[in-house]
Amino acid sequence: MAVITDFSKNQVGLKNQGKEGFENMTAKNLVFDTKDLNLWYGDDHALKNINLDIYENEVTAIIGPSGCGKSTFIKTLNRMVELIPVVRISGDILYRERNILDKSFKVEDLRTHVGMVFQKPNPFPKSIYDNIAYGPRIHGIKNKKILDEIVEKSLRGAAIWDEVKDRLNENAYGLSGGQQQRLCLARCLAIEPDVILMDEPTSALDPISTLKIEELVQELKKEYSIIIVTHNMQQAARISDKTAFFLNGEVVEYTDTNKIFSTPSDKRTEDYITGRFG
């Protein structure tokens, strides 16, 4: 299939066209489905009519220049964006067919299912063990045995178990930057989310640590759906299944990763990925 979809110019009916835009449309379920999502910071219109379908057990990359709204977009998916007081949102975001922007939807519930890894490693100034156990504990899991199990499993899941298993009670700030970021990933895995949002998770890391995280993402997508914001296009090309290109708060193009990087349909996408952009 080679249907070229220009999302930016054809917002209406995008939903239906969207699926045609992808190859291998086997029976994958939708995790997120945004409908005419608009967001303002005060008077600044940061997201404009975003209509995106995100499928489970895939890696969806969000690329675009700084300030294009890509970070804002994924922070909308777990409603972290609401921590900024002047934010206004309109439209719908369906997560597993439920509208998370609905007043009755509790953000805490949402975030229990939609985990997040941040741009800068942000472990708590607590022990490695307490960092991982934080999520389960706040959700009422107190049993030491179960917590031990969760901690080990999560650390293994983030491929950091062997490095820290002998010093679980040491402060997480003693770890290197790359280890801290994997710890944060493990902390996120500890509540076994459905979706993992990653906001430029490697931008503060060295190349080797970056590679480790990328390998992990490949491994984790077997069990989780991953949405990753990156401004490193090679990274998006390497690890993602689908890529959305954001520009000035709009989705210019959203399609299979190999296609967006080989035959982009929009001139602006092409300019951006070939580095001919402002």
Binding site: N78, M80, L83, P85, V107, E108, D109, L110, R111, T112, H113, G115, M116, F118, K120, N122, P123, F124, P125, K126, Y134, G135, R137, I138, H139, Y173, C184, R187, C188, I191
Partner: protein, 294 residues
């Protein structure tokens, strides 16, 4: 033609530099005045107290006989007073700080409370004494007991704790809060489990500094009516009491009658200064040892 006569400038430069040197030394001298006074003051107090501080002085009860007089009562009173002030200020101060930093919306109410706190910090301590006298001692008829004094002192040092706790809470980086919210934690869970532990060293430092202010404060307690000669030791927060600064006060003004009282006052000052020095050392230790640099 040049407007600047460099020979003239050169000539003046010498005197300008001389003036600068002279001023620098004057400024240094002024700075040292404070230091000199500090040294003289401490020397004087220690010199007056020599021979008066011993085990009996610390463990004896109050007496009109200077040879027998001790400050056990004042020490016990100070301890009981702190047992009221510490929890009350911690609770009120940290609660207010959390409200202002985490819950209050930027707006009229928040800035009203904030302004009010900085105004309270500027109210003379003796006015707090009158408040304590009118409300706690007479209003709810507590009398001049530890609880009444402690509540009065708590209100007096409350701004210190609030401001310190606010600074400590503000210093906790936003990304730690985000990490917690990102796990599905609620606001209170985030405050309780992430913000407060991270801010604790700063808060404790503030509380200790507030306590050391309360320990040295005299004026509000003179107003609420602490007797000059109180012999029984207080056994709890509902007993009458005296504290070290008051003991210093009464001995100092009575030194005109019995000369040795001045020595007793000096000896009590030494003990008081040692206590304050110890508390400040603890505060500095906590700040350096546990303060997380974000």
């Amino acid at each position: 033609m040049k407007y600047i006569d460099s020979a003239q400038v050169e000539k003046k430069m010498g005197s300008r530099l001389l003036k600068n040197m002279f001023a620098k030394n004057i400024f240094l001298l002024a700075t040292l005045i404070g230091l000199v006074v500090l040294v003289v003051l401490i020397y004087r107090v220690f010199a007056d107290s020599i021979g008066w501080i011993d085990f009996n002085f610390l463990t004896n009860k109050l007496s009109t006989d200077p040879e027998k007089a001790g400050i056990m009562g004042a020490i016990t009173g100070t301890l009981w007073l702190m047992l009221v002030v510490a929890p009350v200020t911690l609770f009120l101060g940290v609660g207010t700080a959390i409200y202002l930093e985490e819950y209050a919306k930027k707006g009229k109410l928040q800035s009203f409370i904030q302004t009010n706190i900085s105004n309270l910090a500027g109210v003379p301590s003796i006015v707090f004494g009158l408040l304590g006298l009118t409300v706690f001692v007479r209003g709810i008829s507590l009398g001049a007991i530890v609880l009444a004094g402690g509540l009065t002192m708590s209100l007096l040092v409350l701004p210190v704790v609030v401001v310190a706790a606010q600074e400590a809470i503000r210093a906790v980086p936003q990304y730690l809060r985000e990490a917690s919210y990102g796990m599905g934690a609620t606001k209170w869970q985030t405050i309780k489990n992430v913000v407060l532990p991270a801010a604790l060293p700063g808060i404790l430092t503030g509380v200790i500094l507030a306590l050391s202010r309360a320990i040295g404060e005299t004026a509000p307690l003179t107003v609420i009516g602490i007797p000059a000669l109180l012999i029984p030791l207080p056994d709890g927060i509902f007993d009458k009491f005296t504290v070290m600064p008051l003991q210093i006060y009464y001995w100092t003004i009575d030194a005109a009658l019995v000369a040795e009282y001045a020595n007793l006052a000096a000896a009590t000052i030494v003990i008081l200064l040692l206590v304050l020095f110890l508390m400040n050392s603890i505060a500095i230790f906590i700040r350096n040892k546990f303060q997380q640099r974000f």
